[in-house]
Symmetry: C2
Subunit: 274 residues, 2 copies
Amino acid sequence: MTYCVAMRLNAGLVFLSDSRTNAGMDQISTFRKMTVYEKEGDRVLVLLSAGNLAITQAVKQLLSSETIEGSDGEPCTIWTANSMFDVARIVGSCVRKVHARDADALKRHGIDFNCSLIIGGQIDGETMRLFNVYAAGNFVEAGIDGVCYFQIGESKYGKPVIDRVVTPQTPLQEAAKCALISMDSTLKSNLSVGLPLDLMVYEAGSLKVDKLIHIDESNAYFRMIRTTWGQRLRQVFDSIPEPTWSGEQPDLAAGAPAQPQAMNPLSKISAPNA
Amino acid sequence: MTYCVAMRLNAGLVFLSDSRTNAGMDQISTFRKMTVYEKEGDRVLVLLSAGNLAITQAVKQLLSSETIEGSDGEPCTIWTANSMFDVARIVGSCVRKVHARDADALKRHGIDFNCSLIIGGQIDGETMRLFNVYAAGNFVEAGIDGVCYFQIGESKYGKPVIDRVVTPQTPLQEAAKCALISMDSTLKSNLSVGLPLDLMVYEAGSLKVDKLIHIDESNAYFRMIRTTWGQRLRQVFDSIPEPTWSGEQPDLAAGAPAQPQAMNPLSKISAPNA
Protein backbone atom coordinates (compact mmCIF):
# COMPACT_ATOMS: atom_id res chain seq x y z
CA MET A 1 0.00 0.00 0.00
CA THR A 2 0.86 3.65 0.16
CA TYR A 3 0.21 6.74 2.17
CA CYS A 4 0.35 10.16 0.51
CA VAL A 5 -0.98 13.48 1.77
CA ALA A 6 -1.11 16.91 0.15
CA MET A 7 -2.25 20.18 1.74
CA ARG A 8 -3.29 23.44 0.12
CA LEU A 9 -2.65 26.29 2.53
CA ASN A 10 -2.72 30.02 2.06
CA ALA A 11 1.07 30.04 2.47
CA GLY A 12 1.79 27.24 0.01
CA LEU A 13 1.54 23.53 -0.64
CA VAL A 14 2.86 20.51 1.27
CA PHE A 15 3.29 17.07 -0.31
CA LEU A 16 4.43 13.94 1.52
CA SER A 17 4.62 10.33 0.32
CA ASP A 18 5.99 7.03 1.54
CA SER A 19 7.68 4.57 -0.79
CA ARG A 20 6.54 1.06 0.10
CA THR A 21 4.98 -1.12 -2.56
CA ASN A 22 3.78 -4.62 -1.95
CA ALA A 23 2.23 -7.38 -3.95
CA GLY A 24 1.64 -9.78 -1.10
CA MET A 25 3.71 -9.82 2.07
CA ASP A 26 6.73 -11.40 0.42
CA GLN A 27 7.04 -8.95 -2.43
CA ILE A 28 7.85 -5.69 -0.77
CA SER A 29 9.77 -3.08 -2.69
CA THR A 30 10.58 0.59 -2.63
CA PHE A 31 9.14 2.81 -5.33
CA ARG A 32 8.81 6.55 -5.52
CA LYS A 33 5.24 7.85 -5.35
CA MET A 34 6.11 11.52 -5.81
CA THR A 35 7.08 13.08 -9.11
CA VAL A 36 7.99 16.75 -9.35
CA TYR A 37 7.83 18.71 -12.61
CA GLU A 38 9.46 22.13 -12.73
CA LYS A 39 9.89 24.91 -15.25
CA GLU A 40 11.38 27.54 -13.00
CA GLY A 41 9.53 30.84 -12.99
CA ASP A 42 6.69 29.30 -15.01
CA ARG A 43 5.26 26.26 -13.22
CA VAL A 44 5.79 23.68 -10.50
CA LEU A 45 3.66 20.50 -10.58
CA VAL A 46 3.71 17.65 -8.07
CA LEU A 47 2.11 14.26 -8.71
CA LEU A 48 1.43 11.71 -5.93
CA SER A 49 0.21 8.24 -6.83
CA ALA A 50 -1.44 5.31 -5.07
CA GLY A 51 -2.91 2.05 -6.29
CA ASN A 52 -1.71 -0.56 -8.74
CA LEU A 53 1.94 0.26 -9.50
CA ALA A 54 1.77 -0.90 -13.12
CA ILE A 55 -1.13 1.51 -13.70
CA THR A 56 0.42 4.51 -11.98
CA GLN A 57 3.77 3.99 -13.70
CA ALA A 58 2.00 3.80 -17.07
CA VAL A 59 0.16 7.05 -16.25
CA LYS A 60 3.45 8.76 -15.37
CA GLN A 61 5.04 7.48 -18.55
CA LEU A 62 2.30 9.10 -20.63
CA LEU A 63 2.08 12.30 -18.62
CA SER A 64 5.10 14.18 -19.94
CA SER A 65 3.93 14.04 -23.54
CA GLU A 66 0.12 13.78 -23.28
CA THR A 67 -1.62 16.51 -25.28
CA ILE A 68 -5.25 17.57 -24.92
CA GLU A 69 -7.34 20.44 -26.19
CA GLY A 70 -6.96 23.06 -23.48
CA SER A 71 -9.78 25.19 -22.10
CA ASP A 72 -8.73 27.92 -24.56
CA GLY A 73 -9.22 25.55 -27.52
CA GLU A 74 -5.46 25.19 -28.17
CA PRO A 75 -3.54 21.90 -27.76
CA CYS A 76 -1.60 21.79 -24.50
CA THR A 77 0.66 19.55 -22.43
CA ILE A 78 1.50 19.76 -18.72
CA TRP A 79 4.39 22.03 -19.79
CA THR A 80 2.21 24.45 -21.76
CA ALA A 81 -1.24 24.31 -20.10
CA ASN A 82 -2.52 27.72 -18.95
CA SER A 83 -4.21 26.39 -15.84
CA MET A 84 -3.88 23.71 -13.20
CA PHE A 85 -7.41 22.69 -14.16
CA ASP A 86 -6.12 21.72 -17.61
CA VAL A 87 -3.18 19.89 -15.98
CA ALA A 88 -5.67 17.85 -13.93
CA ARG A 89 -7.59 17.13 -17.14
CA ILE A 90 -4.34 15.90 -18.74
CA VAL A 91 -3.72 13.56 -15.79
CA GLY A 92 -7.31 12.29 -16.14
CA SER A 93 -6.78 11.77 -19.86
CA CYS A 94 -3.66 9.63 -19.18
CA VAL A 95 -5.60 7.55 -16.64
CA ARG A 96 -8.32 6.94 -19.24
CA LYS A 97 -5.75 5.90 -21.88
CA VAL A 98 -4.20 3.36 -19.50
CA HIS A 99 -7.71 2.16 -18.61
CA ALA A 100 -8.56 1.66 -22.30
CA ARG A 101 -5.33 -0.27 -22.77
CA ASP A 102 -5.22 -2.45 -19.63
CA ALA A 103 -8.55 -2.60 -17.76
CA ASP A 104 -10.05 -5.53 -19.70
CA ALA A 105 -6.95 -7.68 -19.30
CA LEU A 106 -6.80 -6.85 -15.58
CA LYS A 107 -10.48 -7.72 -15.21
CA ARG A 108 -9.91 -11.14 -16.77
CA HIS A 109 -7.41 -11.74 -13.95
CA GLY A 110 -9.84 -10.47 -11.31
CA ILE A 111 -7.83 -7.29 -10.71
CA ASP A 112 -9.58 -3.95 -10.22
CA PHE A 113 -8.40 -0.90 -12.11
CA ASN A 114 -7.13 0.68 -8.90
CA CYS A 115 -5.48 4.06 -9.18
CA SER A 116 -5.74 7.32 -7.22
CA LEU A 117 -3.65 10.39 -7.91
CA ILE A 118 -3.07 13.81 -6.43
CA ILE A 119 -1.84 16.60 -8.70
CA GLY A 120 -1.08 20.04 -7.34
CA GLY A 121 1.07 23.02 -7.99
CA GLN A 122 1.07 26.47 -9.49
CA ILE A 123 1.28 27.94 -12.97
CA ASP A 124 2.41 31.54 -13.48
CA GLY A 125 -0.61 33.84 -13.56
CA GLU A 126 -2.79 31.50 -11.51
CA THR A 127 -3.20 30.68 -7.84
CA MET A 128 -1.96 27.36 -6.40
CA ARG A 129 -4.41 24.50 -6.89
CA LEU A 130 -4.72 20.90 -5.71
CA PHE A 131 -6.72 18.06 -7.30
CA ASN A 132 -7.52 14.43 -6.53
CA VAL A 133 -7.85 12.43 -9.77
CA TYR A 134 -9.82 9.18 -9.55
CA ALA A 135 -9.51 5.93 -11.50
CA ALA A 136 -12.26 7.10 -13.85
CA GLY A 137 -10.15 10.13 -14.80
CA ASN A 138 -12.54 12.59 -13.14
CA PHE A 139 -11.33 14.80 -10.31
CA VAL A 140 -12.17 17.10 -7.42
CA GLU A 141 -10.39 20.20 -6.15
CA ALA A 142 -9.38 20.94 -2.55
CA GLY A 143 -9.51 24.08 -0.56
CA ILE A 144 -12.11 26.14 -2.34
CA ASP A 145 -14.68 26.17 0.45
CA GLY A 146 -14.20 22.91 2.27
CA VAL A 147 -11.36 20.68 3.31
CA CYS A 148 -7.88 21.86 2.34
CA TYR A 149 -6.10 18.52 2.06
CA PHE A 150 -6.25 15.21 0.19
CA GLN A 151 -4.98 11.81 1.25
CA ILE A 152 -4.60 8.71 -0.92
CA GLY A 153 -3.77 5.12 0.02
CA GLU A 154 -3.83 4.12 3.72
CA SER A 155 -5.34 7.40 4.78
CA LYS A 156 -7.31 6.67 7.93
CA TYR A 157 -4.61 6.16 10.57
CA GLY A 158 -3.13 9.59 9.90
CA LYS A 159 -6.38 11.52 9.46
CA PRO A 160 -7.31 12.43 13.06
CA VAL A 161 -4.19 14.53 13.71
CA ILE A 162 -4.67 16.48 10.46
CA ASP A 163 -8.33 17.10 11.29
CA ARG A 164 -7.28 18.52 14.64
CA VAL A 165 -4.49 20.77 13.37
CA VAL A 166 -4.62 21.86 9.74
CA THR A 167 -6.66 24.76 8.36
CA PRO A 168 -5.88 26.97 5.34
CA GLN A 169 -4.29 29.45 7.79
CA THR A 170 -1.73 26.92 9.10
CA PRO A 171 1.85 28.11 8.41
CA LEU A 172 3.83 26.04 5.94
CA GLN A 173 6.42 24.53 8.32
CA GLU A 174 3.71 23.69 10.84
CA ALA A 175 1.75 21.91 8.12
CA ALA A 176 4.89 19.99 7.09
CA LYS A 177 5.35 18.93 10.73
CA CYS A 178 1.72 17.78 10.86
CA ALA A 179 2.10 15.79 7.64
CA LEU A 180 5.16 14.03 9.12
CA ILE A 181 3.30 13.24 12.37
CA SER A 182 0.37 11.92 10.34
CA MET A 183 2.84 9.71 8.45
CA ASP A 184 4.41 8.56 11.74
CA SER A 185 0.99 7.41 13.04
CA THR A 186 0.44 5.51 9.80
CA LEU A 187 3.88 3.87 9.90
CA LYS A 188 3.22 2.85 13.51
CA SER A 189 -0.06 1.08 12.70
CA ASN A 190 0.37 -0.28 9.18
CA LEU A 191 3.19 -2.45 7.92
CA SER A 192 2.38 -1.78 4.29
CA VAL A 193 3.51 1.84 4.56
CA GLY A 194 7.25 2.39 4.93
CA LEU A 195 10.29 4.63 4.76
CA PRO A 196 11.90 6.36 2.96
CA LEU A 197 9.64 9.38 2.51
CA ASP A 198 9.61 12.23 0.03
CA LEU A 199 8.63 15.67 1.28
CA MET A 200 8.09 18.75 -0.86
CA VAL A 201 7.19 22.13 0.60
CA TYR A 202 6.19 24.79 -1.92
CA GLU A 203 5.95 28.49 -1.09
CA ALA A 204 3.05 30.30 -2.73
CA GLY A 205 4.14 32.30 -5.76
CA SER A 206 7.74 31.05 -5.79
CA LEU A 207 7.35 28.98 -8.99
CA LYS A 208 10.44 26.96 -8.11
CA VAL A 209 11.38 23.80 -6.26
CA ASP A 210 13.66 24.50 -3.33
CA LYS A 211 12.34 22.42 -0.42
CA LEU A 212 12.32 18.88 -1.74
CA ILE A 213 13.78 16.27 0.53
CA HIS A 214 14.25 12.55 0.78
CA ILE A 215 13.79 11.26 4.35
CA ASP A 216 15.19 7.92 5.48
CA GLU A 217 15.99 6.32 8.84
CA SER A 218 18.97 8.61 9.29
CA ASN A 219 17.01 11.87 9.01
CA ALA A 220 17.51 13.70 12.32
CA TYR A 221 14.26 15.66 12.22
CA PHE A 222 12.02 12.71 11.42
CA ARG A 223 13.77 10.61 14.08
CA MET A 224 13.03 13.38 16.57
CA ILE A 225 9.34 13.38 15.49
CA ARG A 226 9.09 9.59 15.84
CA THR A 227 10.52 9.59 19.35
CA THR A 228 9.04 12.80 20.71
CA TRP A 229 5.50 12.50 19.40
CA GLY A 230 5.01 9.03 20.84
CA GLN A 231 6.50 10.02 24.21
CA ARG A 232 4.51 13.24 24.58
CA LEU A 233 1.29 11.60 23.41
CA ARG A 234 1.86 9.11 26.19
CA GLN A 235 2.46 11.95 28.69
CA VAL A 236 -0.79 13.61 27.62
CA PHE A 237 -2.55 10.29 27.93
CA ASP A 238 -1.21 9.89 31.46
CA SER A 239 -2.20 13.46 32.37
CA ILE A 240 -5.89 12.82 31.63
CA PRO A 241 -7.75 11.56 34.70
CA GLU A 242 -8.95 7.99 34.59
CA PRO A 243 -12.65 7.23 34.86
CA THR A 244 -14.08 6.51 38.27
CA TRP A 245 -17.29 4.68 39.05
CA SER A 246 -17.82 5.79 42.59
CA GLY A 247 -19.40 9.21 42.36
CA GLU A 248 -16.11 11.13 42.42
CA GLN A 249 -15.29 13.48 39.55
CA PRO A 250 -14.56 12.74 36.72
CA ASP A 251 -17.20 10.12 37.01
CA LEU A 252 -18.43 8.15 34.05
CA ALA A 253 -21.63 7.33 35.89
CA ALA A 254 -22.19 10.97 36.86
CA GLY A 255 -23.21 11.81 33.32
CA ALA A 256 -26.43 9.84 33.55
CA PRO A 257 -29.12 12.09 32.11
CA ALA A 258 -31.83 13.45 34.40
CA GLN A 259 -34.39 13.27 31.61
CA PRO A 260 -35.46 10.08 29.89
CA GLN A 261 -33.60 9.67 26.57
CA ALA A 262 -34.78 8.29 23.26
CA MET A 263 -32.72 5.18 23.96
CA ASN A 264 -32.91 3.23 27.14
CA PRO A 265 -29.73 2.41 29.01
CA LEU A 266 -28.24 -0.87 27.89
CA SER A 267 -29.57 -3.71 29.93
CA LYS A 268 -27.90 -7.05 30.18
CA ILE A 269 -29.53 -10.32 29.22
CA SER A 270 -29.80 -12.67 32.17
CA ALA A 271 -29.67 -16.43 32.05
CA PRO A 272 -33.05 -18.08 31.55
CA ASN A 273 -34.37 -19.95 34.60
CA ALA A 274 -33.20 -23.51 34.51
CA MET B 1 -20.71 2.00 9.87
CA THR B 2 -19.60 1.12 13.31
CA TYR B 3 -16.60 1.26 15.57
CA CYS B 4 -16.16 -1.34 18.30
CA VAL B 5 -13.05 -2.21 20.29
CA ALA B 6 -12.41 -4.90 22.90
CA MET B 7 -9.25 -5.41 24.97
CA ARG B 8 -8.05 -8.43 26.89
CA LEU B 9 -5.82 -7.29 29.73
CA ASN B 10 -4.41 -9.18 32.68
CA ALA B 11 -6.71 -7.16 34.95
CA GLY B 12 -9.88 -7.74 32.94
CA LEU B 13 -11.73 -6.93 29.74
CA VAL B 14 -12.84 -3.62 28.20
CA PHE B 15 -15.57 -3.38 25.55
CA LEU B 16 -16.66 -0.18 23.81
CA SER B 17 -19.09 0.33 20.93
CA ASP B 18 -20.76 3.21 19.14
CA SER B 19 -24.36 3.03 17.97
CA ARG B 20 -24.61 4.59 14.53
CA THR B 21 -26.07 2.59 11.68
CA ASN B 22 -26.46 3.91 8.19
CA ALA B 23 -27.79 2.66 4.92
CA GLY B 24 -26.77 5.62 2.82
CA MET B 25 -26.35 9.12 4.19
CA ASP B 26 -30.07 9.73 4.57
CA GLN B 27 -30.86 6.62 6.56
CA ILE B 28 -28.99 7.08 9.79
CA SER B 29 -30.27 5.39 12.88
CA THR B 30 -29.17 4.41 16.35
CA PHE B 31 -28.79 0.70 17.13
CA ARG B 32 -27.03 -1.04 19.96
CA LYS B 33 -23.93 -2.99 18.92
CA MET B 34 -23.16 -4.40 22.36
CA THR B 35 -25.09 -7.23 23.98
CA VAL B 36 -24.23 -8.45 27.48
CA TYR B 37 -25.17 -11.92 28.74
CA GLU B 38 -24.85 -12.60 32.46
CA LYS B 39 -25.40 -15.55 34.79
CA GLU B 40 -23.91 -14.08 37.95
CA GLY B 41 -21.20 -16.19 39.53
CA ASP B 42 -21.13 -18.47 36.49
CA ARG B 43 -20.46 -16.47 33.31
CA VAL B 44 -20.35 -13.05 31.69
CA LEU B 45 -20.36 -12.83 27.87
CA VAL B 46 -20.18 -9.68 25.76
CA LEU B 47 -20.97 -9.59 22.04
CA LEU B 48 -20.00 -6.67 19.77
CA SER B 49 -21.23 -6.59 16.19
CA ALA B 50 -20.36 -4.76 12.97
CA GLY B 51 -21.52 -5.15 9.40
CA ASN B 52 -24.93 -5.58 7.82
CA LEU B 53 -27.49 -4.88 10.56
CA ALA B 54 -30.02 -7.42 9.28
CA ILE B 55 -27.32 -10.12 9.49
CA THR B 56 -26.03 -9.21 12.95
CA GLN B 57 -29.55 -8.90 14.37
CA ALA B 58 -30.42 -12.34 12.96
CA VAL B 59 -27.27 -13.76 14.58
CA LYS B 60 -28.23 -12.24 17.94
CA GLN B 61 -31.75 -13.60 17.62
CA LEU B 62 -30.38 -17.13 17.19
CA LEU B 63 -27.65 -16.84 19.79
CA SER B 64 -29.65 -17.29 22.98
CA SER B 65 -31.02 -20.67 21.94
CA GLU B 66 -28.39 -22.07 19.53
CA THR B 67 -27.18 -25.52 20.57
CA ILE B 68 -24.02 -27.25 19.35
CA GLU B 69 -22.11 -30.32 20.36
CA GLY B 70 -19.61 -28.98 22.88
CA SER B 71 -15.94 -29.93 23.07
CA ASP B 72 -16.90 -32.52 25.73
CA GLY B 73 -19.36 -34.20 23.33
CA GLU B 74 -22.46 -32.92 25.17
CA PRO B 75 -24.95 -30.46 23.67
CA CYS B 76 -24.41 -26.92 24.92
CA THR B 77 -25.70 -23.36 24.57
CA ILE B 78 -24.03 -20.07 25.49
CA TRP B 79 -25.62 -20.55 28.93
CA THR B 80 -24.20 -24.04 29.49
CA ALA B 81 -20.94 -24.18 27.48
CA ASN B 82 -17.90 -25.15 29.57
CA SER B 83 -15.51 -22.87 27.72
CA MET B 84 -15.37 -19.55 25.88
CA PHE B 85 -13.99 -21.51 22.94
CA ASP B 86 -17.33 -23.33 22.67
CA VAL B 87 -19.17 -20.01 23.02
CA ALA B 88 -17.17 -18.67 20.05
CA ARG B 89 -18.09 -21.83 18.13
CA ILE B 90 -21.77 -21.20 18.93
CA VAL B 91 -21.49 -17.64 17.59
CA GLY B 92 -19.83 -19.04 14.45
CA SER B 93 -22.59 -21.60 14.09
CA CYS B 94 -25.24 -18.83 14.23
CA VAL B 95 -23.36 -16.83 11.58
CA ARG B 96 -23.32 -19.91 9.33
CA LYS B 97 -27.06 -20.48 9.80
CA VAL B 98 -27.82 -16.89 8.81
CA HIS B 99 -25.46 -17.27 5.85
CA ALA B 100 -27.26 -20.42 4.72
CA ARG B 101 -30.58 -18.61 5.01
CA ASP B 102 -29.77 -15.18 3.52
CA ALA B 103 -26.48 -15.11 1.56
CA ASP B 104 -27.88 -16.21 -1.81
CA ALA B 105 -30.70 -13.69 -1.70
CA LEU B 106 -28.26 -10.93 -0.69
CA LYS B 107 -25.93 -11.93 -3.54
CA ARG B 108 -28.75 -11.61 -6.06
CA HIS B 109 -29.05 -7.99 -4.90
CA GLY B 110 -25.30 -7.44 -5.13
CA ILE B 111 -24.90 -7.28 -1.35
CA ASP B 112 -21.94 -8.96 0.38
CA PHE B 113 -22.51 -11.14 3.42
CA ASN B 114 -20.79 -8.60 5.64
CA CYS B 115 -20.59 -9.40 9.33
CA SER B 116 -17.83 -9.19 11.94
CA LEU B 117 -18.30 -10.02 15.60
CA ILE B 118 -16.32 -9.89 18.80
CA ILE B 119 -17.24 -12.26 21.63
CA GLY B 120 -15.44 -12.15 24.93
CA GLY B 121 -15.97 -12.88 28.58
CA GLN B 122 -15.33 -15.43 31.26
CA ILE B 123 -16.86 -18.71 32.35
CA ASP B 124 -16.34 -20.00 35.89
CA GLY B 125 -13.32 -22.33 35.99
CA GLU B 126 -11.67 -20.72 32.96
CA THR B 127 -9.61 -17.61 32.29
CA MET B 128 -11.06 -14.62 30.41
CA ARG B 129 -10.96 -14.99 26.64
CA LEU B 130 -11.64 -12.79 23.62
CA PHE B 131 -12.46 -13.87 20.05
CA ASN B 132 -13.07 -12.20 16.71
CA VAL B 133 -15.63 -14.18 14.67
CA TYR B 134 -15.61 -13.63 10.91
CA ALA B 135 -18.41 -13.79 8.32
CA ALA B 136 -17.40 -17.38 7.51
CA GLY B 137 -18.04 -18.39 11.13
CA ASN B 138 -14.36 -19.05 11.84
CA PHE B 139 -12.56 -17.09 14.53
CA VAL B 140 -9.26 -16.02 16.07
CA GLU B 141 -8.36 -15.42 19.71
CA ALA B 142 -6.60 -12.37 21.14
CA GLY B 143 -3.96 -12.04 23.75
CA ILE B 144 -2.33 -15.45 23.78
CA ASP B 145 1.03 -14.34 22.48
CA GLY B 146 0.36 -11.41 20.25
CA VAL B 147 -1.92 -8.44 20.16
CA CYS B 148 -4.34 -8.09 23.07
CA TYR B 149 -7.18 -6.19 21.40
CA PHE B 150 -9.64 -6.50 18.51
CA GLN B 151 -11.39 -3.78 16.58
CA ILE B 152 -14.28 -4.15 14.15
CA GLY B 153 -15.87 -1.63 11.79
CA GLU B 154 -14.12 1.70 11.18
CA SER B 155 -11.00 0.62 13.01
CA LYS B 156 -8.14 2.57 11.48
CA TYR B 157 -8.65 6.10 12.84
CA GLY B 158 -8.52 4.89 16.42
CA LYS B 159 -5.73 2.33 16.05
CA PRO B 160 -2.57 4.47 16.47
CA VAL B 161 -3.40 5.58 20.04
CA ILE B 162 -4.12 1.98 21.13
CA ASP B 163 -0.87 0.78 19.55
CA ARG B 164 1.02 3.40 21.54
CA VAL B 165 -0.64 2.74 24.90
CA VAL B 166 -2.19 -0.67 25.46
CA THR B 167 -0.35 -3.83 26.53
CA PRO B 168 -1.67 -6.77 28.57
CA GLN B 169 -0.21 -5.03 31.68
CA THR B 170 -2.29 -1.86 31.21
CA PRO B 171 -4.59 -1.28 34.22
CA LEU B 172 -8.30 -1.57 33.55
CA GLN B 173 -9.33 2.07 33.99
CA GLU B 174 -6.38 3.23 31.90
CA ALA B 175 -7.44 0.86 29.12
CA ALA B 176 -11.02 2.18 29.34
CA LYS B 177 -9.66 5.72 28.99
CA CYS B 178 -7.63 4.65 25.95
CA ALA B 179 -10.67 3.01 24.34
CA LEU B 180 -12.65 6.23 24.81
CA ILE B 181 -9.83 8.33 23.30
CA SER B 182 -9.62 5.90 20.38
CA MET B 183 -13.39 6.35 19.92
CA ASP B 184 -13.01 10.13 20.12
CA SER B 185 -10.44 10.10 17.28
CA THR B 186 -12.82 7.98 15.21
CA LEU B 187 -15.82 10.23 15.89
CA LYS B 188 -13.71 13.24 14.93
CA SER B 189 -12.74 11.82 11.53
CA ASN B 190 -15.68 9.69 10.44
CA LEU B 191 -19.30 10.77 10.27
CA SER B 192 -20.57 7.21 10.09
CA VAL B 193 -19.60 6.54 13.71
CA GLY B 194 -21.68 8.30 16.35
CA LEU B 195 -22.85 8.66 19.93
CA PRO B 196 -24.24 7.24 22.17
CA LEU B 197 -21.62 4.72 23.24
CA ASP B 198 -21.81 1.60 25.37
CA LEU B 199 -18.88 0.82 27.66
CA MET B 200 -18.42 -2.33 29.68
CA VAL B 201 -15.44 -2.88 32.00
CA TYR B 202 -15.08 -6.38 33.40
CA GLU B 203 -12.81 -7.26 36.31
CA ALA B 204 -11.00 -10.58 35.97
CA GLY B 205 -12.63 -13.31 38.02
CA SER B 206 -15.64 -11.24 39.12
CA LEU B 207 -18.18 -13.19 37.01
CA LYS B 208 -20.64 -10.33 37.24
CA VAL B 209 -21.59 -7.18 35.35
CA ASP B 210 -21.10 -4.08 37.45
CA LYS B 211 -19.41 -1.52 35.20
CA LEU B 212 -21.72 -1.21 32.22
CA ILE B 213 -22.54 2.28 31.11
CA HIS B 214 -24.35 4.13 28.39
CA ILE B 215 -22.51 7.31 27.33
CA ASP B 216 -24.28 10.13 25.51
CA GLU B 217 -23.56 13.82 24.90
CA SER B 218 -24.30 14.61 28.54
CA ASN B 219 -21.67 12.25 30.02
CA ALA B 220 -19.27 14.43 31.98
CA TYR B 221 -16.26 12.14 31.65
CA PHE B 222 -16.53 11.65 27.90
CA ARG B 223 -17.08 15.40 27.41
CA MET B 224 -13.88 16.00 29.39
CA ILE B 225 -12.02 13.50 27.14
CA ARG B 226 -13.33 15.12 23.97
CA THR B 227 -12.23 18.61 25.03
CA THR B 228 -9.01 17.78 26.84
CA TRP B 229 -7.49 15.27 24.43
CA GLY B 230 -7.87 17.57 21.43
CA GLN B 231 -6.48 20.58 23.35
CA ARG B 232 -3.48 18.73 24.79
CA LEU B 233 -2.71 17.00 21.51
CA ARG B 234 -2.58 20.47 20.03
CA GLN B 235 -0.24 21.64 22.83
CA VAL B 236 2.06 18.68 22.19
CA PHE B 237 1.96 19.44 18.50
CA ASP B 238 2.94 23.06 19.19
CA SER B 239 5.73 21.94 21.55
CA ILE B 240 7.51 19.97 18.83
CA PRO B 241 10.00 22.12 16.92
CA GLU B 242 9.15 22.89 13.33
CA PRO B 243 11.47 21.76 10.57
CA THR B 244 14.11 24.15 9.36
CA TRP B 245 15.93 24.07 6.07
CA SER B 246 18.86 26.27 6.88
CA GLY B 247 21.32 24.06 8.71
CA GLU B 248 19.95 24.84 12.21
CA GLN B 249 18.75 21.95 14.37
CA PRO B 250 16.32 20.25 14.03
CA ASP B 251 17.12 20.36 10.38
CA LEU B 252 15.32 18.22 7.86
CA ALA B 253 18.18 18.59 5.44
CA ALA B 254 20.77 17.71 8.09
CA GLY B 255 19.74 14.08 7.93
CA ALA B 256 21.22 13.59 4.50
CA PRO B 257 23.21 10.36 4.67
CA ALA B 258 26.97 10.50 4.32
CA GLN B 259 27.02 7.17 2.49
CA PRO B 260 25.28 6.56 -0.82
CA GLN B 261 21.94 4.86 -0.28
CA ALA B 262 20.17 2.20 -2.30
CA MET B 263 17.81 4.86 -3.56
CA ASN B 264 18.92 8.12 -5.04
CA PRO B 265 17.49 11.34 -3.72
CA LEU B 266 14.36 12.35 -5.57
CA SER B 267 15.19 14.52 -8.52
CA LYS B 268 12.72 16.76 -10.22
CA ILE B 269 11.79 16.55 -13.86
CA SER B 270 12.65 19.73 -15.70
CA ALA B 271 10.80 21.13 -18.65
CA PRO B 272 12.06 19.89 -22.01
CA ASN B 273 13.88 22.48 -24.08
CA ALA B 274 11.45 24.30 -26.31
